[in-house]
Symmetry: C2
């Protein structure tokens, strides 16, 4: 009985790592669909998001059952309670990737991102991919050091967002109303995506150390 | 020992109801500061948000300790695990209220909301107040029926948001770039605020029935 319980615990952690991999694909494809106005890719991100939401429900149910049936303590309890939260964060990241794809779809065959904002969004996309990749690896390797680096990467995302606002509101800005709405929301989606990755890292640190890191570097605390 | 445990459980639920009351004040004041360009009120919402974040950390710690020390089962386990999630949702709602107040502060002494969008935001504000109030009452009375009505109220919020987009992008729109950015983000904050209230209701239903409601009416699932 104990063995199968530990197997279930391991399988939950494996599922989280797997789910993080799917989220990485989602934000990569969503970014690509956005930057190259690829309708098919946008549709695929949107339809795959349903699968992530289904995984969320399934995993949450699994964790709650494990809590109820096994009454775990200490490290195991921390792991299961944290898993419930991590799976929520990952599902939200999937939703945000789908939001990006929906804007790409809405503007097709045009590109939602105005030319002057392309480089910024390209960097945001690469940061989003980097941060979910690091969150996934931190989970897979139970690596606290990696999880701590997430907040660092996130701060570059925030900086890029500030640069976007400056560019939009600059005197020589020729952005349209539609463009401004898209840039404001897309920037928000990428920013929140990174925040959620930081929150995942926070839970990895909690699983490993029993301490929840605090302070301004830890958004979504 | 059991008595003090049940007292702790009750005190957690009481704290959630109390926290929901603070969130209601936050969104009411934030909306007022936004619509009447009241800098003092905006500052007060922003500084009180730190208190909500502190409560979040404290309550989460309390719930995790209770899980670890008492190894609760069935309804009690559901209550504590749900409390961890509710407190997170409430803290996020507080953050969103603070985001609204920050935009009010940023545009002071001007009003962030362009005149044509005032009525819409006034209705959004009143829906936000209504929805957190109903979420609070549902928690206080452990009322599943109230919790189910939250999704209904939320759908009106989504409708208002769609109306904002139509108005912004209409041909006779005279909105500035700054105004469009503000309206897009403010609309998003109010929309998310309502989503989180629905998620709170979802947890209330889970505590009372053991079933997590599913489907499209339940955003943030």
């Amino acid at each position: 009985m104990r063995t199968s319980y530990h197997e279930e615990l391991d399988s939950i952690l494996d599922s989280l790592v797997h789910m993080a991999g799917l989220v990485e694909v989602a934000i990569r494809d969503a970014s690509e669909s956005l930057l190259s106005a690829d309708l098919g890719l946008a549709e695929s991100v949107i339809s795959k998001d349903i699968e992530l939401d289904r995984m969320h429900e399934e995993m949450e149910y699994k964790c709650l059952s494990l809590l109820a049936l096994q009454a775990p303590v200490a490290g195991e309890l921390r792991t299961i309670v944290s898993a419930i939260r991590v799976v929520f964060e990952l599902a939200r990241m999937g939703d945000l990737a789908a939001h990006v794809a929906k804007i790409a779809r809405l503007r097709y065959p045009a590109t939602a991102v105005p030319e002057r904002f392309e480089a910024g969004f390209r960097e945001m996309a690469s940061i989003a991919i980097e941060i979910i990749d690091l969150a996934r690896l931190s989970m897979a390797a139970r690596d606290v050091k990696g999880a701590h680096r997430l907040a660092e990467i996130d701060s570059r995302m925030d900086e890029l967002r500030r640069e976007q606002f400056t560019l939009m509101l600059s005197e020589d800005s020729d952005i349209s109303i539609e463009g401004a709405v898209d840039v404001a929301l897309l920037g928000r989606y990428f920013e929140r995506f990174a925040d959620h990755a930081v929150a995942v890292g926070r839970r990895v640190i909690y699983i490993m150390t029993g301490q929840v890191p605090e302070g301004e570097d830890w958004p979504n605390a």
